[in-house]
């Protein structure tokens, strides 16, 4: 018996294969999957946004108008944003945007100094001596890379470069920290890249386990269709 769940699972398997087929070559099935995805995602988001507005504000306004009357203000501000499509009244949209930005900024600013600056500086101040050698190495690396990174982004004051044949202790220290900063950042970017690979591989594995392996026939048909799509694309380009 074919149920809606099975049909949905088959469509999911097809779309996954067709989207991944882009890694080999652009093709008609990839384009179809892409358009279905964009359309569905946009429609779903709009429906959810309306549902959220309905649940949070409109229902309350209708059922408890004396309690929820103030919801009318954000609704009006939100509706003002649609005036950006009007040439004559586009300026009205700025009020909604301005209040939105102001509230967001005010909320963030009240805790940013403590959450994102002071606590981070405190955490960076690690002891540079102690009995645990591994911790000591870690702390020294943390200290040198932090100072090095800050030195690299120093754009205003530079120690003067010494004349040829002469040395300058300050300049040598500056260069050393500058290089530590560069290499520290490279290690950081390397770790970030490695983590990106881990995430992408994880996505593929989970997609295979959730959508492809349980519906292997759909997967095989999807692969065949993707291969046909790629062949059509190759022929079209060769003409």
């Amino acid at each position: 018996m074919v149920s809606w769940e099975i049909i949905g699972a088959w469509i999911a398997a097809f779309i996954v294969i067709w989207i991944y087929s882009f890694a080999f070559r652009d093709n008609v099935f990839y384009k179809l999957a892409e358009h279905i995805f964009v359309g569905t995602a946009a429609g779903y988001s709009i429906a959810l946004a309306i549902d959220s507005l309905n649940r949070v504000a409109i229902k309350s306004l209708i059922t408890q108008p004396t309690v929820s009357w103030h919801y009318i203000i954000p609704i009006i501000l939100g509706m003002l944003m649609f005036f950006k499509y009007s040439r004559k009244y586009y300026w009205l949209a700025r009020y909604g945007v301005a209040i939105n930005v102001a509230v967001g900024a005010a909320l963030a600013v009240r805790t940013i100094p403590m959450a994102n600056i002071i606590r981070q500086i405190q955490a960076a101040l690690t002891p540079l001596w102690g009995s645990d050698p591994i911790k000591l190495v870690n702390n020294w690396l943390m200290f040198l890379i932090t100072v090095g990174g800050l030195t690299y982004f120093l754009f205003t004051i530079f120690p003067p470069k010494p004349a040829p044949g002469r040395t300058s202790a300050i300049y040598t220290l500056y260069r050393a920290l500058y290089l530590i900063g560069i290499y520290g950042m490279m290690v950081g970017f390397g770790a970030l890249f490695a983590n990106t690979i881990v995430t992408r591989v994880g996505f593929v594995i989970s997609i295979y386990l959730i959508y492809l392996q349980p519906y292997i026939i759909a997967t095989i048909i999807g692969v065949i269709l993707a291969a046909i799509g790629i062949l059509i694309e190759v022929r079209r380009r060769s003409k």
Partner: protein, 284 residues
Amino acid sequence: MSVINVIDRIFGSRYVLYLVLIIALIYPLIFPIGIPIQISSRTLAVYNYIQHLKPGCHVYMELYYEVAARGELEPNAIALIKQLFDKGCKIVFVSTMSTGPLIFSLLKSSAPDVFANKTYGVDYVFLGYVSGGEAAVASLAKSIKGTVTVDNYGNPVDKLSLLKEVDKATDFDLAIIVSSGTDTFNYYVRQWYTPYGTPLLFVALSVIAPSIEPFVSAKQAIGMLVGQRSAAEYELLVGRKGLGIASMDSQSLSHFVILIFIIVGNIVYWSKRLEAKKAKGGGR
């Protein structure tokens, strides 16, 4: 043609890389190798922290991820929910992402055993999608009932017994943020931890981990579970096999293949550079 050129021709093609990678990914899923999984100290610390929460504690869980990130985040979330429910803790689920309702229904359908003996409204509640980003997060910290009037299914929040016990950030023993984005963690550190001191636990994608590590180092979060690796470890700890454990062999083998490609790529790159230098007549 030199050996380096032959290797360059074979490995230089992205089709070869994709094909080898697909084989490395799928082979261990069909024929599991059984590479042993060691539990890291960080995962163990998170497990112990939750074990030391009082029975019947209240936990807040934000589900901020899209369907694509399910594989990395959902196994972690399920393992955590199992541990919390086993302890008799009560969970308030919420999502500030529009895909939240879909994600929650998928999460429940992936782990029917975990939710089996739990009553909606008493043991757990799903508030649904709450729009507004950081402003919504700040508002929820101040008062849940002041932010939403009904849950995801249209039930009035003041009629749900769990929400009679909790309303603001300080009422929760732990807030778990399961997110595929970096900003969400920032929001909770700024709006929940800093003003109210609610302990935070992060569940993040591997790619996000380096960006939020400073919060964990600064002790603004009690810990962090990252990707399928942490999920596998946590599944072992809570004794429920899931997607995390199932994917570990495949993860290990595919990473090994990528490492080989990186090493081969570097050897080819440096050899060709050396060859070009020699051909130019340099070679000093």
